[in-house]
């Protein structure tokens, strides 16, 4: 257990390894599901099969990360679904127009950052509960989506759809990039301070951590991830739909909770949230392939979520 000082010279990796504590069970379950899925659907191991699978996981992964960020600050975001829809309609209305894909992409990113930062400012500076602000915010954001595109329509250029949602695993590559960017962010002082700001805000403030800035930054990034998911969904469907994101609010919470993110702030890791979203995505796919009716899918999903949350508690009670 005790390392000599020379051996512990590299600090970063041991810290990362320690963050896996408590997630091993989750990783094992995810692996089990991946194997089950691979057996049921051997196409997973072809390039296009793998691409299709990661594409079904990708938007959920992004919103799970977005929700996990909010939960790490000690809040919750009920506007994620609306923000995804907004991202989708902005992408579908701008990318085929004069702005082009680059301009449209920038518009999507800016909208996400702006919505997130505004929400964060209201919650942090005005001290309103996040759940209520994001509830009201969900109306505003979904209203904005309806304004931009009152009914499904618009278009995303075919080449972009093919690139993101075609037979190449571009989505997976992007996800890896996002995860790497997240690692980079968590290695910055503001990123790392997020844990302190969520877990022990008073202590963090006394330690000189810019608590407010860390939280607002988290909100902004959360918004960016949500509209990013929207862009992807638009690319998947080839067009925009102002209510396409609705289901993501609840699924993002479910995925984050499955991934071990706590409601009190400062508990949990992004790799957990990713694993949680993968698990949820796999569950849905596996049940589909097993021929579960939608009913059984919902029922099983509800039971599994409760079970995953209640299990640690039951184990503690036994002790």
């Amino acid at each position: 257990m005790n390392r000599s000082p020379e051996q512990s010279a590299a600090l970063y990796w041991p810290v990362q390894v320690n963050r896996n504590n408590g997630l091993v069970g989750l990783f094992a379950v995810v692996l089990l599901f991946v194997i089950a899925y691979g057996v049921l659907f051997p196409g997973l191991f072809t390039l296009s099969g793998f691409a299709k699978f990661t594409q079904s996981w990708f938007p959920l992964a992004l919103v799970a990360m977005a929700q996990a960020l909010m939960m790490l600050t000690g809040g919750i975001n009920l506007a994620i679904g609306a923000t995804v829809s907004l991202g989708a309609v902005i992408a579908a209305t701008t990318m085929s127009g004069p702005l082009g894909v680059a301009g449209g992409g920038a518009a999507v990113a800016l909208a996400g950052l702006a919505i997130g930062a505004a929400t964060g400012l209201i919650v942090v500076k005005l001290r309103l509960p996040a759940i209520v602000v994001t509830l009201a915010g969900s109306f505003i954001v979904s209203g904005a989506a309806l304004l931009i595109l009152p009914r499904p329509g618009g278009a995303v250029p075919d080449w972009l759809s093919n690139l993101l949602a075609g037979n190449t695993p571009t989505a997976f590559v992007i996800l890896v990039l996002v995860a790497l960017l997240w690692k980079l962010y968590m290695a910055t002082p503001v990123g790392l301070s997020l844990y302190a700001a969520g877990d022990n805000p008073v202590g963090a403030y006394r330690s000189g951590v810019p608590v407010d800035a860390a939280r607002i930054a988290a909100y902004a990034i959360s918004g960016l991830l949500s509209t990013g998911a929207g862009l992807f969904v638009a690319a998947q469907t080839g067009s925009g739909d102002p209510v396409i994101g609705t289901a993501f609010t609840l699924n993002s919470i479910a995925a984050a909770v499955l991934g071990g993110i706590g409601f009190l702030g400062g508990q949990g890791t992004m790799r957990g949230a990713l694993a949680g979203s993968l698990l949820l995505s796999l569950m849905i796919s596996v049940m589909f392939f097993l021929g579960f009716t939608p009913v059984a899918q919902y029922v099983a999903q509800g039971l599994i979520i409760i079970g995953a949350v209640a299990l640690p508690q039951l184990r503690r009670l036994k002790r």
Partner: protein, 502 residues
């Protein structure tokens, strides 16, 4: 010693919370190379003063000066730039971050905008070596026991290379070895010219380490003088404002005692294999170092945590209460140590707090009789001398009055057994005295009082018997004529069985 210019000073600082003045016109000056003791009872305003000196709280009135220059509305990061570091009593650590990440928090070394883990590791390792932390730096703080976390907190302050180091009860959860390391460290820092403000309840530490003392009593400075020529009794007199002996009522044995609770091989939480008899008509003290299972003993008896016993008799029934409501029905009442978290509903009115145990017991859907409730509240408030309008929120009350509410709310139950968890912690002297008198009165009236206390003199002077716990076990039961602070402390540290390194 020649007077150097103070590195950090407060001039005429005042502060109040919810209309209660906590600090009144307080001045203090911290000089380089001097260990300055700040003494005062719990609730005297020490923590508030520290928070003002470190920029965590703004003062209502008065000024904070760094190097003689007044700083308006200092923030914690400005304080850090001014070279001020604080070891908080309530730790400022984050459970999910590693030791090194906690130590550097708010002041990470950077490289290309990123946290420079290599530099962080090097600097964290050097401060960890100073305080004797040899756990891997990557260990999450949440995995450490309390004493080690305290050392991380100290290392975190040292990491900031402070010119002014403020330590708020740094030794409260440290072992003797760790305390010795800290003492040596502070002496070295003093030699380097660091100004140190040291807060502790352990007077022998203060006498050994400090040169100057400022005493706070009820938010005012009552003494600001060199320590030389003062002894421990003198310090107590400065803090309490009277001779220590006067604090306690004269002890008288009760006329008759009767066992009301008895357990054999009782275990709950940290408490293990305890045989105990609680008798009506006496105050039974429970002592020992902090966190030896005393609290779990009370909570287990009260049915608040799972407990087992080979045999148990509680007020006539032969089983432990299965839950709090059942314990209440058997005549047990519990007053927790942490009033704010466990004892009171701070956002509710005093009246609501006072009525709650009663409302928890009567049939759920019976219509409440407001006039009767008001009469009860009035009666309790006057009987316990609770000041203020009972319609005010409980958080507006001072610590002493809050404690009285936490105690008074059980009186409508007329409990037979009162389990009290450190009821005088953070309570002013007058209220302490009132509480002691009340406890003796309860005993005289034929109730059983169990007094868990971290304050050894109070165990000696108020209790009929004292049970001492160590590592979850009951290691001594001292009768009244055996009681002395020395005996209790000796049993608490296990000095009878083995000599421990000091």
């Amino acid at each position: 010693m020649t007077e150097a210019a103070p590195l950090l000073a407060a001039r005429g600082v005042s502060k109040s919370f919810f209309g209660n003045p906590v600090l009144r016109d307080v001045s203090i000056a911290l000089l380089p190379g001097r260990v300055h003791a700040l003494l005062g009872e719990n609730g005297a305003g020490k923590s508030t003063l520290i928070n003002i000196l470190s920029g965590a709280l703004p003062a209502d009135d008065g000024a904070v000066e760094i190097d003689g220059r007044p700083v308006a509305r200092m923030t914690p990061s400005e304080a850090r730039q001014g070279g001020i570091a604080v070891v908080q009593q309530e730790l400022s650590l984050t459970a999910s971050l590693s030791i090194a990440e906690n130590i550097g928090l708010g002041a990470y070394p950077r490289r290309f905008g990123m946290v420079d883990y290599r530099a962080l590791a090097a600097r964290a390792r050097s401060v960890c070596a100073l305080v004797g932390l040899d756990e891997p730096l990557s260990t999450p703080v949440g995995a450490l026991p309390l004493g080690r976390r305290q050392m991380v907190e100290i290392a975190k302050a040292l990491y900031r290379e402070p010119r002014v180091l403020i330590l708020d009860e740094p030794t409260s959860s440290l072992s003797a070895t760790e305390t010795a390391i800290l003492t040596k460290l502070l002496e070295r820092l003093r030699a380097q010219g660091v100004a140190i403000l040291y807060i502790s309840h352990r007077l022998n530490e203060v006498m050994a380490l400090c040169e100057h003392v400022t005493v706070l009593k009820d938010g005012r400075v009552t003494a600001d003088q060199p320590l030389a020529g003062t002894d421990a009794a003198g310090l107590v007199r400065l803090m309490v404002g009277r001779d220590p002996g006067d604090l306690f009522p004269r002890w008288q044995p009760s006329a008759s005692t009767n066992p009301v609770v008895s357990v054999k091989d009782f275990s709950a939480g940290l408490a293990r294999d305890i045989d105990l008899e609680i008798r009506t008509g006496e105050v039974l003290g429970i002592g020992g170092l902090v966190g030896q299972g005393q609290e779990d003993l009370l909570l287990g008896l009260y049915g608040a945590i799972p407990a087992v016993a080979a045999a148990a008799k509680v007020n006539g029934t032969s089983a432990l209460p299965a839950g709090v409501p059942q314990a209440n029905a058997l005549g047990l009442a519990y007053v927790p140590a942490d009033r704010k978290r466990e004892g009171l509903h701070l956002i509710h009115s005093i009246a609501t707090n006072l009525m709650l145990p009663d409302l928890a017991r009567v049939p759920a859907l019976r219509i409440r009789r407001r006039s009767a409730e008001r009469a009860t509240v009035r009666d309790l408030a006057s009987r316990f001398a609770i000041k203020g309008d009972p319609a005010r929120q409980a958080q507006a009350l001072s610590g002493g009055n809050q404690q009285k509410v936490a105690l008074a709310k059980w009186m409508p139950h007329d409990p037979l057994v009162l389990l009290l968890n450190d009821p005088t912690r953070g309570v002013d002297v007058e209220t302490k005295r009132e509480i002691y008198i009340m406890l003796r009165k309860f005993a005289a009236a034929g109730k059983a009082v169990v007094l868990l206390s971290s304050d050894t003199p109070e165990l000696v002077h108020v209790c009929d018997r004292v049970a001492v716990m160590r590592e979850g076990r009951l290691v001594a039961m001292l009768s009244h004529d055996e009681l002395s602070e020395e005996r209790i402390v000796a049993a608490a540290v296990g000095a009878g069985r083995q000599k421990q390194a000091a």
